[in-house]
Symmetry: C2
Subunit: 213 residues, 2 copies
């Protein structure tokens, strides 16, 4: 499920012209372009994204944008991938921390809500238009699959140690990441009706004590 450097994940619809690659790739230029795209998406949404504006905001030429990205959809896909990776890093750090399984799950829940809170608008746009077909399937399915893949070894280890009831770890990982993503989306979308603390408490109880238990 993970991206390799040889076959980067791209939107499925191929470009008319194959993209020229930068001769000496400049990670800083790529980073500035992605950051400019993120700012513009937060201001105007994904449909309003224009490659010309991304170039202008980053202080680079339109030609440079096309050296690094296939166009506006690709900019969005690469942004989602970068933010998926950032979240994944934070969660894997928590999974690897000390303490019993239940405690690490609560820490992971907290890290997840913090991340969503920090990236509210980006998260909503991801929910709105993340169902893009890419070379690795639906982008939103890929992103959730990444998080499920990270979580699964933790669940398997907890089952082995008897800290968790035996069940299909793949399905359980999907259930947990899917539930949390849905509730986080609902929370952000419904505005301030529930505080972050209320959501955190509800989800912690749900995760710890079960859905209907």
């Amino acid at each position: 499920m993970s991206a390799s450097d040889d076959e980067p994940i791209r939107p499925r619809r191929p470009q008319r012209r194959p993209r020229r690659r930068p001769r000496n790739p400049n990670p800083e230029a790529r980073r500035r372009l992605l950051e400019a795209a993120r700012e513009l998406i937060w201001e105007d949404g994904v449909p309003g994204l224009r490659v010309e504006k991304v170039a202008e905001r980053a202080g680079l030429s339109v030609g440079t944008v096309y050296l690094y990205f296939d166009g506006k959809t690709d900019l969005f896909v690469q942004l989602v991938m970068e933010y998926t990776e950032r979240l994944s890093e934070r969660l894997r750090e928590v999974y690897a921390s000390e303490g019993p399984f239940a405690q690490r799950m609560l820490r992971a829940l907290d890290a997840y809500l913090t991340f969503v809170d920090e990236n509210r608008l980006g998260f909503l746009y991801f929910l709105d238009v993340g169902a893009i077909e890419t070379t690795v399937g639906r982008l939103s399915t890929w992103a959730l699959g990444r998080h499920a893949d990270d979580l699964r070894p933790l669940l398997e280890a907890a089952m082995e140690r008897g800290e968790l009831r035996q069940q299909d770890p793949e399905l359980l990982a999907q259930a947990i990441v899917g539930l949390l993503q849905h509730m986080a989306g609902w929370w952000v979308e419904s505005g301030e009706r529930y505080s972050r603390e209320e959501m955190g408490r509800f989800l912690a109880t749900l995760t710890g004590r079960g859905l209907l238990g």
Copy 2:
């Protein structure tokens, strides 16, 4: 959250010309057009939907389509609303059936998986492009909200009778419908890797015994 006859739910983007309304609305014509749109979406997907083809498939004129619908997006919105209502009816019937709460939840789960199984392609398209802005907010949020609204009284009654731990019924209803929708989407999307029986057993245990309990 429910649609009234006075203010029908429509896509947010208004038409350039206000739509003429049929003088003597013919429910049969409307039904044929919706069924034609459903068939075409299952064949070609939502982006490929053309009003001309819908008219042709239904054996009606393009003008008649525009008497009943604002265009292709509206056709899709009305289809989602109709199928949301069909599922809602089946679930409400199960909620109102005899027996303890846990048993009715298992019957509801079964009814839900049957519905998804019957409407696989439509369900996937809904997941892909259901984040349309309408006069009642995001279409997918509205549809899930309908199901959560149906479920909530059942949860409240079960809490009152001590069949269910006291907790916020609105959040719990959202969590259950969100979890089931995610898992159903993942199941349909991943093809035949898990059978309907395996998914049903996993979700029944999850619902009955809790996420990590």
